[in-house]
């Protein structure tokens, strides 16, 4: 499950669509608080390919064009592809992490893995890639889906990435930032 007390806060955050939905637009207090914190602490934000694809089909449910903002700001970054071969220290490769989460989700959803979308399983794999290719010591995944969180956290646990890729619930994160 997600961490109730996300301290110290990661310096890189992977934002899930569910987080972007919940945080709202420029008129929302949560959005303003989050963006102010991110800017002050020089935190880098990342969007995965699956999230970018979902944002393209969002049909009016998210008021901020995050992909457009990524084109015009240095602190929001688009991840074009997740490199499955990346690993850090003796941790599993990004592709292995993705497959393991995907298997858990397919079993959980009682669905054919080939038909299950990979947006959730891509999130920790992107975390591995960021740990391997940037100077960030820890990466947070901000998501508002308790059941996906559980699958992701279950795979991260007892690997090198435990504590380095951290699944954060949106409200715990926002409350931490506000405090």
């Amino acid at each position: 499950m997600s961490e109730a007390h996300p301290s110290p806060f990661p310096t890189a955050l992977i934002l899930d669509t569910s987080f972007l939905r919940t945080i709202g637009g420029t008129g929302s207090t949560s959005y303003q608080t989050f963006i102010q914190y991110v800017r002050e602490r020089e935190i880098d934000l990342y969007l995965t390919p699956g999230v970018i694809e979902e944002l393209a089909e969002q049909r009016g449910y998210i008021s901020i064009d995050w992909v457009d903002r990524a084109d015009t700001t240095a602190w929001i970054n688009l991840i074009d592809t997740v490199q499955p071969g990346v690993r850090v220290h003796d941790g599993p490769r990004a592709g292995e992490m993705m497959d393991q989460v995907h298997e858990r989700l397919a079993k959980f959803e009682q669905t054919d893995p080939n038909e299950l979308r990979k947006t959730d399983s891509e999130l920790p794999a992107a975390g591995v890639m960021l740990l391997g290719s940037t100077s960030h010591d820890s990466v947070g995944v901000l998501i508002d889906d308790r059941n996906a969180e559980r699958a992701i956290s279950g795979v991260i646990g007892n690997t090198y990435y435990e504590g380095r890729i951290r699944v954060l619930s949106i409200w715990d994160a926002i409350e931490y930032i506000e405090s």
Partner: protein, 209 residues
């Protein structure tokens, strides 16, 4: 006198038919459903308190209270708070069976009530129609029971992920408040806690919390 065989109605047929019409009335009038839900989760409550929480005018609030009394799902009590009568609403529920059985109760009534004030729910029914909200409520219950992800709901409903995320977020914050007042949900155990901050964004709040 006709020789046609007489259909013998079970003794509670009238009561069942009455519940059917009450549910139909509430599902067809979102503002009335919202008034009913607020009164239900905050019973006993004064009409003034309900109208202040939900932003109804005084005349509309009393009209809805009297409508609910006529429908037999609310009553004015012989008790007072700050000089105003207290009212109580009772849960109404029933099953609708066709190819599958839909359990209709306070939660689904509350979600339909929410469409009059929640932009996301309003957009969802604009896109998919009012009927699409019932399967969305069922799918959200599955999510709350820990049996699917929000993206799994998208696959189940055949809608884009962002719509499934949006509608489950909107519905869960209503169900979290109404669940304990809905007899159709009494046997369900939820694995997912809905955060208080999420509930604050929903259309219904318990006055005592």
């Amino acid at each position: 006198m006709s020789n046609a065989p007489t259909t013998i109605q079970p003794p509670d047929a009238g009561h069942t038919a009455h519940r059917f019409f009450v549910i139909q009335e509430l599902l067809g009038a979102p503002d009335l459903a919202r008034f009913y839900t607020d009164l239900l989760i905050n019973s006993p409550s004064t009409v003034t308190a309900v109208r202040e929480r939900q932003g109804f005018s005084k005349s509309t609030a009393y009209k809805y209270a009297n409508t609910l009394a006529e429908l037999g799902v609310a009553e004015e009590l012989d008790e007072y708070e700050d000089g105003s009568s207290l009212w109580r609403a009772d849960p109404v529920s029933g099953d609708w069976t066709a190819q599958i059985t839909l359990e209709l109760g306070p939660a689904i009534i509350a979600v339909y009530g929410g469409t009059s004030v929640d932009d996301d729910l309003e957009l969802f029914i604009d896109r998919h129609g009012k009927a699409a909200l019932a399967p969305a409520v069922m799918a959200t219950l599955t999510y709350l029971q820990g049996e699917t992800t929000r993206r799994g709901v998208a696959d189940e409903l055949g809608i884009p992920a962002v719509e499934a995320i949006t509608v489950t977020q909107a519905v869960e914050r209503i169900i979290a408040v109404v669940k304990s007042h809905d007899p159709t949900l009494s046997g369900l155990t939820f694995e997912v806690d809905v955060h208080d901050r999420a509930i604050e964004q929903g259309p219904y709040q318990r006055a005592d919390e």
